[in-house]
Structure formats: structure tokens, C-alpha cells
């Protein structure tokens, strides 16, 4: 919808680092609700031969999709922004019940120089919602730490079936700039 402050000329590499990690962990299904912060990663996924990007109408669809994918033998990852986490709450109950690997990458809004006050309430409760729902939270705030955080998150999610969310800080992504 709106461009972020860091446009194409300063496009960061961290989304490519994420893509490489997901590829190495044999992630096949990538449900997403678009977010500007995820746009490059979504692009990489949609042009990949091994991953399938699946556009959702609401984020909870992605939780259920990953359960089905696992029953069918595939790993997935859910891409969303912080406001979508609230949409998932009841569906997150499938994770401990069905015990499937759950990894989600969440671009944060409502923090670090946010312009839009409507993003702040859900952005402020994102981590708490995950923790109350039994999902471990890791955070990456700088491009340099993205690879190690992703590696740890994917390892514990896929190897140890530890439900894990990686919060990609607004500090990392850049606060959205609203121009007239």
C-alpha cells in the first residue's frame, strides 16, 4: 500500500538471508498476508521453484494451513505483520494439540517511530499474545542478527517442535512513511 522509507535503492539483504535459511530447512508452504516489510521475501518465495507462496484473506488461515501441510509431510512458515497476530488467537490452539512445527515471521508495527496510532495497541500486545498462546518469541532488531536469529528459530521450530515467532522489529524494517 505505502512504500517504506528504505526504497529499492537501499534495499536491505536481510530478506534474502531469511529466504536462504527457509530454503535450507526445506520449507515448502509459505502462507502470508502481505506486509510492506515482507514484500521482498514474498517476491523471493513467489519466484521460487521449491516454495509455494499462499496468499491468505486472514492470518488464522495460515495456522490451519500449516497443520494440514505437516499432516501431508511438508514444513511451512507463516508471514504476517503484528496486527495479524490477534487474528490468529483461537487457531493457535491447534499448535499444542496437533503438535506440528510452527514458525512465523512477524513484521512489527506500532513501535520505533510509528506514525499511525491505530497500529500501537496490537503492536504492543503482539509478544504477550504469543507467549500466552505458548509460542516462544525471538526478536531481530538489526540486519546483522537476522541470520542467527532465523537459524535458531527454524532449528527449534522444526527440530524440536517448539512453536516460535520471530518479531522483525520496526527498527530493522524502517518505520512506514506516510506522504500525501
Amino acid at each position: 500500500m505505502h512504500a517504506r522509507a528504505d526504497a529499492a535503492d537501499t534495499a536491505p539483504n536481510w530478506p534474502d538471508d531469511i529466504f536462504a535459511t527457509l530454503q535450507r530447512f526445506d520449507v515448502r508452504q509459505v502462507p502470508y498476508v502481505p506486509d510492506a516489510g515482507h514484500s521482498r521475501l514474498i517476491q523471493r518465495v513467489l519466484s521460487s521453484f521449491t516454495m509455494r507462496g499462499i496468499a491468505l484473506t486472514t492470518e488464522e488461515e495460515g495456522v490451519a494451513l500449516l497443520a494440514g501441510a505437516w499432516a501431508g509431510g511438508q514444513r511451512g512458515v507463516l508471514l504476517m505483520q503484528s496486527s495479524g497476530v490477534g487474528n490468529c488467537i483461537n487457531m493457535l490452539s491447534l499448535i499444542p494439540i496437533l503438535r506440528f512445527p510452527f514458525l512465523t515471521l512477524v513484521t512489527m508495527r506500532g513501535e520505533w517511530g510509528e506514525f499511525n496510532p491505530w497500529q500501537v495497541p496490537m503492536g504492543s500486545t503482539t509478544q504477550g499474545v504469543f507467549e500466552l498462546s505458548g509460542v516462544k518469541v525471538l526478536r531481530a532488531s538489526h540486519a546483522a542478527e537476522v541470520p542467527v536469529v532465523l537459524e535458531a528459530a527454524a532449528a527449534q521450530a522444526y527440530n524440536a517442535l517448539t512453536p516460535t515467532a520471530v518479531l522483525l522489529s520496526q527498527r530493522l524494517i524502517g518505520a512506514k512513511v506516510f506522504t500525501k
Partner: protein, 196 residues
């Protein structure tokens, strides 16, 4: 509302699963999951006791992971209404091996029989078709149920959707296992996957 000739839900579900071969079947939260169990427990039955609105998406995840297997979601009108957006998601992905059958009694049968939106307003067949699921059928006879059950095995022509008008009788509950990890791991084992 014309309530004549409504179908018996158990008969519908046993017909859908009678000659199932390699079908993986997902039963939506509510009476549908019980109907599936009543038709006979099976290693490829994915019984849901929660996650209302998620049945069709679990079907999509399975169908994309196993494109050579027919995947059949059997759920109720209330459960489908809660996950209506997933029809648009499925319409976009067009998994050829996915079929969805909604058992539509126009009511929330598990919670006291409150009237649902399909009784006079929402047309799930029209919604599914408008979401890009071209093969969307309004089913009112057992012959149509049998035809749909056959079509489920054609993994090159889906996705397909059937809304089956059933009567609102409350039947004896036939309860499947409610151990979710067991249900998933049993399906995985039957498909040849090892435990982690």
C-alpha cells in the same frame, strides 16, 4: 423454507467415504467430525474438535503437500461460514485434488440449533463459485452425493465444492479420538512419514 426431502447426514457421509481408497478426509468441528467417525474410523481421518473455521485450510495444506492424493473436507455450514475467506484462498490456489462437502442443516446444531446464515441469506454454493471454485454444486439428492463422491477421486479437475442440504436431526454422538497429536501422527505414518 421448503424442508422436504432433506438428506440424512450419516447416509451422506458414509456415501462420501464408502469407496474412499486413498482419500484423506478432514472432519470439521461439530457433528461432521462425528459423522466421519460413524462411517468408520480410518488412519486417514483428520478429526477436528476445535479450530472452528480451519477445516478447509487444513484441507488445502494437505492437498498442496500431497497433490497425488484426493483430499476431502467434510464440515458444517457454521464451520464453513467462519472460514469463508478460505474459499477465496482455495479459489486462488486451485488445488485440483481438493474437495469440500458442507453438511448444511441451516443451524448451529451443537449449541442448541440456533438458525445459521444459510437458512435464508447466505448461499455457500454461490460464494464458493464466486471465489473461483468453478465446480460448486448444490446437492439435494443421494444420486448427487454419489456423483460427488466419485468426483472426489478425480485429482485433476478440482477444486470442487458441494453444499449438501441435510435434515436437522440430532443423532447419537459417535465420538472419535480427541488426541490431536495421535490423529496427525497416524495420518503421517499412513502416508509413510517417520516421527521426528
Amino acid at each position: 423454507m421448503n424442508k422436504a426431502n432433506l438428506l440424512d447426514r450419516r447416509q451422506v457421509v458414509s456415501t462420501l467415504l464408502a469407496n474412499r481408497k486413498d482419500v484423506v478426509a478432514i472432519g470439521g468441528l461439530g457433528a461432521s467430525t462425528n459423522d466421519m467417525c460413524a462411517a468408520g474410523d480410518h488412519a486417514r481421518n483428520f478429526y477436528l474438535w476445535g479450530g472452528m473455521g480451519g477445516a478447509a485450510m487444513i484441507g488445502l495444506g494437505l492437498a498442496l503437500a500431497q497433490p497425488q492424493l484426493p483430499v476431502l473436507v467434510i464440515t458444517g455450514d457454521g464451520e464453513m461460514l467462519m472460514g469463508m475467506g478460505s474459499l477465496a484462498t482455495i479459489g486462488l490456489q486451485k488445488p485440483a485434488n481438493l474437495s469440500i462437502a458442507v453438511l448444511d442443516n441451516e443451524a448451529y446444531g451443537e449449541t442448541g440449533g440456533q438458525t445459521s446464515h444459510t437458512s435464508s441469506a447466505a448461499d455457500l454454493v454461490g460464494i464458493a463459485r464466486a471465489c473461483g471454485i468453478n465446480d460448486s454444486r448444490a446437492v439435494t439428492t443421494m444420486a448427487e452425493v454419489e456423483a460427488f463422491a466419485k468426483a472426489v477421486h478425480d485429482i485433476s479437475a478440482g477444486p470442487r465444492f458441494a453444499n449438501v442440504k441435510i435434515d436437522s436431526a440430532n443423532l447419537e454422538r459417535i465420538l472419535p479420538t480427541r488426541d490431536g497429536a495421535y490423529i496427525v501422527n497416524r495420518i503421517r505414518a499412513d502416508l509413510g512419514f517417520q516421527p521426528i
